[in-house]
């Protein structure tokens, strides 16, 4: 059982901010994908990769929606989200226009913690945003060489470009990358079963395997895996990590009510020392040790 994860000094207090945030931009991409930019200064300043915000979608809906933070600008105070319309709540959110306000509550949750020199970031579908957020944070770290592999079965919400950053082990023709990451000097490659040009035709995990196989044993010892995406993908990623004996952190999703640890509505079964513990995705996660959840 998850005990409250606060300490006697009450350091958990005042770490999440609620603000009526102006929508600065709201762009639509194919496959009902949307990129939302809101002005939420405190959230932007405190956001760490893997965290999310809890957004109101409409006055008529009693519950908010948890959405991963894709980018945050501490200087300019904006926060970007990428989401796909998946139900009534996200459909209502998608109708909100620039200039309108929504309530943004964040940042929430335990972020990723990267210790390795060669982090492998894998994002599938709406699981891409936390990986982009993590990549942006790693960009500022010297000596760390991340690789980002993104997968999607609907058109990517950006125009892929041939990458100038060379990578070991890539099959012929797998050259497409995400321009934003490329600008940051971070290597990326794309995977899809849809046969998009420049993309690997197959699963993200198979592409990752090509890369891992091309590494020396020493190099491989420096790899840690970070992933977010649909459950079948996460399972495959964790199995891959097991096969190569790599540490793996995954970011999970669940329906949420409070998003502050109050309702225990968002739990996931986590293997613990004594059997299985039901932990709250909102505050005990959303980032968990992959080997403990799959």
């Amino acid at each position: 059982m998850a005990s409250p994860s606060y300490s006697a000094n009450k350091s958990h207090r005042n770490t999440i901010f609620v603000v009526d945030a102006e929508i600065l931009r709201h762009e639509v991409y194919p496959g009902h994908q949307h990129i939302l930019r809101v002005q939420a200064e405190d959230c932007a300043r405190q956001a760490r990769p893997g965290q999310f915000a809890h957004l109101t979608v409409d006055r008529q809906r009693p519950m908010r929606r948890p959405i991963s933070i894709m980018r945050a600008s501490p200087d300019q105070g904006w926060v970007d989200f990428l989401y796909k319309v998946a139900g009534e709540g996200t459909r209502l959110l998608s109708q909100r226009k620039a200039g309108e306000t929504i309530s943004v509550m964040g940042p929430i949750g335990k972020p990723f913690t990267v210790k390795e020199k060669k982090p492998l970031l894998i994002g599938g579908g709406v699981g891409m945003p936390p990986m982009i957020c993590l990549a942006e944070a790693l960009r500022r770290q010297v000596d760390v060489q991340p690789l980002v592999i993104l997968g999607s079965e609907i058109p990517f919400p950006f125009d892929s470009k041939p990458s100038q950053l060379m990578l070991q082990g890539m099959p012929d023709g797998v050259i497409g990358g995400m321009p934003l990451l490329e600008d940051w000097g971070i290597a990326s490659r794309l995977a899809s079963l849809q046969g998009y040009p420049g993309c690997y035709e197959g699963y993200v995990t198979d592409l990752a395997k090509h890369w891992l196989e091309a590494l020396s044993a020493d190099q491989r010892a420096q790899v840690g895996v970070y992933a977010c995406g649909p459950e079948p993908m996460l399972r495959a990623v964790v199995n891959l990590a097991r096969e190569y004996q790599l540490p793996v952190q995954v970011s999970l999703e669940e329906f949420m009510a409070c998003a502050v640890g109050g309702c225990a509505g968002c739990v996931v079964a986590v293997k613990a020392e004594q059997g299985v513990a039901m932990q709250r995705v909102c505050v005990d996660g959303p980032v968990f040790d992959g080997l403990r959840v799959y």
């Binding site: 005990s3 005042n14 770490t15 009693p62 329906f255 502050v260």
Partner: protein, 325 residues
């Protein structure tokens, strides 16, 4: 540290409540979770009901545990809690009793368990004990006790034997005669009532032909249940007022108007649960809204509002015997 306006304060079963707003069990963990939010303060409520607690730890129901519905939500948490000993040893010492009153919420599968958990809380710094005989999400005990008037009274009696702290009985709306049940509970030693717990419900994913909720059935809360809750609250007030037994009215309250409706219907205090999920900073807004109303109606103290509802002449509907068709 700002406190709610003194006109909102009252003494409830001997406890001083700074505000009529009570944070509801199961929505606010063990009292510290919402303080993560900047601008949220435990001082803005009269009391906090902690998560339902049982004798042994419970890991709760399988996911999904919650689902949004029209103007409400379903939940089937299954009373996940670390057990009464852990709560008393590790959680209560962390709470700041200067900020508000803390009320334990007791659950059990047997009479003996209710008694045991209550007895343990009696020997703790907790301010009061709320007995949950209305949880719809567990197989034994809970609502199966709460829907049976004899069992309800037995649970109250068992708990009363082992505590002198205020004993608040949380009634189920999933029963035919809530007022009759309340009368039995009063005789068995209840000090106050919480009215109502969630209503049993279900939602189905038609693509998979399965209920969304792992536990299949679940409890409905939020604005959708408010009219039902209000009537139940008023029905219980009909029997409790003669005994000076106060009510914490609850079920779908989201703003000051809702809160005032419950006070007029007979509640002395009102619960806020699901509304926090939408607006975690709602407490000071409701406090202010109630004050504005009191000012407009020249009311000096919140207690003057309780039960001041003026009924229309056909009052038979309210005892549950009349026909409204």
């Amino acid at each position: 540290m700002s406190q709610p306006d003194p006109r909102l304060a009252q003494t409830f079963c001997g406890m001083s409540f700074a505000s009529p707003l009570i944070l509801l069990s199961g929505c606010v963990g063990f009292g510290e979770e919402y303080t993560r939010i900047e601008g949220f303060s435990n001082r803005d409520c009269g009391a906090i009901c902690l998560k339902g607690t049982t004798a042994a730890p419970r890991s709760g129901n399988p996911p999904h545990r919650i689902y949004e519905t029209s103007s409400g939500m379903l939940n089937a948490i299954g009373l996940q809690n670390p057990g009464v000993d852990h709560v008393i040893q590790n959680i209560l010492p962390e709470l700041d009793f200067n900020e508000t009153r803390f009320i334990a919420n007791v659950s059990g599968s047997t009479l003996e368990e209710y008694r045991e958990v209550t007895r343990k809380f009696n020997d703790s710094p907790i301010d009061a004990i709320e007995v949950n005989i209305s949880c719809p999400n567990v197989k034994a005990g809970g609502v199966t006790f709460g829907n049976d008037p004899d069992m309800s009274a037995k649970v109250v009696e068992a708990c009363r034997e082992v505590t002198a702290k205020p004993l608040i009985i949380k009634l189920s709306p999933n029963q035919t005669d809530i007022a009759g049940n309340a009368a039995g509970c009063i005789e068995a030693g209840a000090d106050a009532f919480a009215v109502i717990n969630t209503l049993m419900g279900m939602a189905i994913d038609i693509e998979n032909r399965r209920p969304y909720i792992g536990n299949n059935q679940s409890g409905l809360s939020g604005p959708a249940i408010k009219p039902i809750a209000l009537l139940k609250c008023h029905q219980v007030y009909q029997v409790s007022k003669a005994h000076d037994i106060p009510i914490i009215g609850q079920g779908g309250i989201t703003n000051a108007v809702d809160a005032i409706e419950f006070l007029l219907a007979g509640a002395s205090a009102v619960g806020i649960g699901t509304a926090l999920f939408y607006d975690p900073l709602v407490l000071p807004k409701i406090n202010q809204g109630i004050l504005d109303y009191m000012h407009r109606h020249k009311i000096q103290c919140i207690t003057e509002l309780t039960g001041t509802l003026q009924l229309n002449s056909a009052d038979s509907v309210l005892t549950g015997t009349g026909c409204s068709c």
